[in-house]
């Protein structure tokens, strides 16, 4: 390697010796500290919770409590099936937890934390939406997003440039559309479908049975019109964060994704606005135990104050609302402590029927099948 001075001469040997000595000491310490055996526990979880379970602090806490927890991600709709010897499953929605209980003949479920679905937009876009009567700034400074008014805009195929005001959106000819994850695999997009179906069904939670064709068609269009589906559940959020308003004006995300980004970074830019859809839906993260060890994980996640604290640090809301409240106050985040306009997801059968009809529309359009959530690693590369 011409031109480069040798960076280490004799010193490298010294470092090696030093490192070896440190290693010996570490092994000795390990011998003392880790003589207590940990029980391996494996969970199948929604991809949105992988970062939480793999957080070193969470891993360490479980280890202190006697468990070595590993998780693998799986698409939400398949979460309860083919559990392949897992100790617990953890979907991002109550109705999926019920399905998992039913499939595995389990009656227990834990609900350690939850998060509402929100929209993120950029200021100029939100201003334009305000002018159109879709976005409203409430007295406490937080924003509401009228989902019915939004549906009206999409019904008229409104473009961004058609919205009032002279904002960044005025030259954007794309349809006013919320960007979501892939509804065929992802819980986040399914939650979007829950809200849309509630409104299109005359403000009634979808009942089991055949899906109304009109409802299904309208919802399918709102997904297909977005074009090429994202390659991972993280991609829409990351593109929103990195590529700006002209690329992704509005994105549908878990509130926890927003809080987590603002607390742990990489941060979103200053002109990002959080909007609470009216109505919204809560993603209730559940743990359905399949073994005794899985049951302990569910219990600890719900009861252990340290794990609850860590969940809050990941942007989730826990039973003790003070944790979340303190965190968002500390960071001055414009989020609501109380989210009131909330609908419940339909039963597993009803939602599954709707998602299947959306999937059929994708297939009929010639789009390739969805990316399994568990395929490969992450889509976002080490950027959270």
């Amino acid at each position: 390697m011409p031109g480069l001075p040798p960076p280490f001469g004799r010193r490298s040997t010294w470092i090696v010796v030093g490192a070896a000595a440190v290693a010996v000491v570490l092994v000795a310490i390990g011998f003392v500290v880790f003589t207590r055996e940990t029980t391996p526990v494996e969970g199948v979880v929604g991809s949105e919770k992988v970062a939480f379970f793999e957080d070193e602090r969470v891993q360490d806490r479980f280890e202190d409590l006697g468990y070595a927890v590993t998780v693998r991600p799986r698409g939400s709709r398949l979460l309860g099936e083919r559990t392949d010897g897992a100790d617990f499953v953890s979907p991002g929605s109550r109705h999926l937890a019920e399905r998992a209980q039913e499939l595995n003949s389990v009656s227990t479920e834990y609900l350690p934390f939850s998060t509402p679905m929100v929209l993120l937009g950029y200021e100029p876009v939100v201003d334009a939406l305000e002018g159109a009567g879709v976005a409203v700034r409430e007295e406490d400074g937080t924003w509401s997003f009228d989902m019915s008014a939004y549906l009206d805009l999409t019904e008229e195929r409104t473009r961004w440039r058609d919205l009032p005001g002279d904002s960044v959106s005025s030259s954007n000819r794309n349809e006013v559309l919320v960007r979501t994850t892939d509804p065929r695999t992802s819980n986040s997009a399914a939650m979007h479908a829950v809200v849309l179906s509630y409104l299109l069904n005359g403000e009634e939670v979808l009942a089991p049975g055949p899906v109304d064709e009109g409802v299904s068609e309208t919802i399918s269009r709102l997904f297909l019109a977005q074009g090429q589906p994202p390659e991972s559940s993280q991609q829409p959020f990351e593109q929103f964060r990195d590529l700006g308003a002209g690329h992704t004006p509005l994105v549908w995300v878990y509130e926890s994704q927003y809080v987590q980004a603002m607390v742990n970074g990489p941060e979103l830019s200053d002109d990002v606005v959080v909007l609470y859809p009216g109505p919204t839906v809560f993603s209730e993260h559940a743990v359905v135990p399949l073994t005794g060890a899985g049951n302990e994980v569910g219990r600890l996640l719900t009861e252990d104050p340290e794990l609850q604290e860590l969940a809050a640090a990941h942007g989730f809301r826990t039973d003790d609302t003070a944790r979340f409240g303190t965190l968002v106050e500390e960071y001055g985040l414009p989020v609501r402590t109380q989210v009131t306009d909330v609908v419940h997801p339909p039963t597993y059968e009803a939602l599954e029927a709707l998602l299947t009809s959306i999937e059929d529309t994708y297939e009929a359009s010639g789009a390739r099948p969805p990316v399994p959530e568990e395929a490969g690693g992450r889509g976002g590369g080490g950027r959270g």
């Binding site: 040798p6 960076p7 090696v16 490192a19 070896a20 390659e231 700006g244 002209g246 990489p266 395929a375």
Partner: protein, 527 residues
């Protein structure tokens, strides 16, 4: 085309001390199949390698070609791929499962650059909203001309084509098959203005500058924002390009560094270290400063004043995209007129002539293979002349791929190729003169003309290169400006072939180490 970047000296030092404790720090290599777009990062990657201990080996391939290989799982021993975009990959069923992780490293939209004076005349000064439809109108009413890369070969042309079709369809949502059908007339009109094609975005920029220098400019080119900004910054252009970011949106390249499925732990770790460094604020700022691409990490920023991205929705269906590209090469773009000047002297006897025959014949069949292969086949409306030579130029035979009878014309061409026999001396420049005379005699129409010149040895008979130069000086300018794409083969005189390519504004391709068929396929991107 391989370049190995030096690994960290640190890694070498540690490996030398053969210490397993710290082995993880270095000695790792990532073998990457890349688009030529990222070649400008090589100097920066050397520094990244030094910091991370990850050695990077880059091989280059056309975007569609490369991504099709990934989708089919045909990536040999590559650890990663790095093209300007993975959009085409992800239209394939096998696309996502072939990938472990992808990380966008930087972004650049595909936009239009127009010579400043021309932009002013058109009223396209900064702050005015110009749409792709306005550009189409300028082509029709103001005879606007431009260059664009071949969508079958290069991502910038591919992105431009999808973007322009989406914008002209103006549905506000992702393009569908029926939309393409509806806007075909406008698309055809738009591409009447495309006077220059190219197999890569870098070569397109060079060719643009060359044409300006030679006094036969085109008005603009469709290329990555980063390439246009770099060209302006390089100082070689007397008249800078005005960047037009169409208001109705563009398709953006996000350069995802893509780790292929099932990596070993060492590879995964090497990838993560590389990505970690590439996304660091310092490296991101260097990327912005050195390559004019927009950084993706906060803290870094582009010094140029560019508008926010407006992204056109990308189609979800492979079929929509494939058919649009096939339609572009077969019907929408200006047809090509090519003279293949082929050495059939005695030295070509045996394997060489057989290699030549099979390589050319491969271009005569629409083999129903990948989209890249489909676009590389001879297309309807195209005119192909074979001019074999040895002691003297042989009888030229011209094949016109008339719509309707294109298949039988291609079959005739294949027949002619199969009948090539090796014999005699190498009077190459006489044959080239003949090729230019043939082009001079051809009608002055909208065809994009070029010459492919293949010889396996020293020119030992007839005119010299200097005599050819003199002959070209006496020819009409538009004929003399036809580029010669030279193919090195056997014992070709590398210096002369390079000089010839430089003299005519062509490019040298190496058929000595690379498969000859692959070389002919690559040249198709430039025709």
């Amino acid at each position: 085309m391989r370049r190995a970047l030096p690994a960290a000296a640190l890694a070498v030092a540690l490996t030398a001390s053969s210490c397993s404790l710290v082995e993880g720090l270095g000695g790792d290599t990532l073998r990457i199949l890349a688009g030529s777009e990222v070649a400008d990062l090589e100097p920066l990657l050397e520094e990244v390698s030094e910091r991370t201990g990850v050695e990077v080996e880059l091989d280059y391939s056309g975007t569609l070609d490369g991504l099709t290989r990934v989708a089919a799982g045909d990536t040999g021993d590559y650890d990663a791929v790095w093209f300007a975009s993975n959009r085409y990959l992800h239209l394939h069923e096998g696309g996502r499962t072939a990938v472990h992780t992808e990380t966008p490293v930087m972004v650049s939209p595909v936009v239009l650059g127009v010579a400043e004076g021309r932009a002013e005349t058109l009223g396209w000064t900064s702050g005015t909203d110009v749409t792709w439809a306005d550009v189409a109108e300028a082509v029709a009413d103001e005879e606007l001309t431009y260059g664009m890369t071949n969508p079958g070969a290069s991502n910038s042309g591919f992105s431009a084509l999808i973007g322009i079709a989406s914008a002209l369809a103006d549905t506000g949502v992702a393009l569908r098959g029926e939309d393409v059908e509806r806007v075909r007339p406008e698309l055809a009109e738009f591409f009447e203005g495309q006077e220059v094609t190219a197999g890569s975005s870098g070569w397109l920029a060079q060719d643009f500058e060359r044409r300006v220098r030679e006094g036969r400019p085109v008005d603009g080119m469709i290329n990555y924002e980063s390439v246009l900004l770099s060209l302006n910054d390089s100082g070689v252009m007397e008249e800078p390009l005005t960047l037009v970011h169409p208001a109705d949106g563009t398709v953006t390249a996000d350069y995802p560094l893509t780790l292929l499925a099932n990596p070993s732990e060492e590879t995964l770790s090497a990838y993560e270290r590389l990505v970690g460094d590439l996304l660091s604020e310092e490296t991101q700022q260097r990327i912005a400063d050195d390559t004019w691409r927009r950084p993706v990490a906060q803290g870094a920023s582009l010094t140029a004043d560019v508008p926010p991205l407006v992204e056109l929705p990308f189609p979800a269906q492979l079929e929509v995209v494939d058919e649009l590209v096939a339609d572009y090469v077969g019907a929408l773009r200006r047809p090509a007129r090519t003279v293949y000047v082929l050495d059939v002297s005695a030295s070509m006897e045996g394997d060489r002539i057989e290699d030549l025959r099979s390589s050319l014949e491969a271009l005569t069949g629409a083999d129903g293979g990948s989209l890249a292969h489909r676009t590389q086949a001879f297309q309807e409306r195209e005119e192909v002349t074979l001019l074999p030579f040895s002691t003297e130029p042989g009888e030229p035979s011209t094949f016109v791929m008339e719509p309707g009878t294109a298949e039988s014309a291609a079959a005739d061409l294949a027949e002619e190729v199969r009948s090539l026999e090796a014999d005699g001396d190498t009077a190459a420049y006489d044959a080239l003169r003949e090729a230019y005379e043939l082009l001079d005699a051809a009608p002055r129409d909208d065809h994009l003309t070029s010459v492919v010149f293949m010889t396996d040895g020293e020119v030992n008979r007839g005119s010299t290169l200097d005599e050819l130069r003199t002959a070209l000086d006496g020819m009409p300018r538009e004929v003399a400006a036809t580029p010669v794409f030279t193919v090195l083969f056997g014992e070709s005189n590398e210096t002369e072939m390079a000089e010839l390519a430089e003299m005519t504004g062509g490019r040298v391709f190496d058929g000595r180490e690379q498969d000859l068929e692959q070389v002919f396929r690559e040249i198709r991107g430039y025709q």
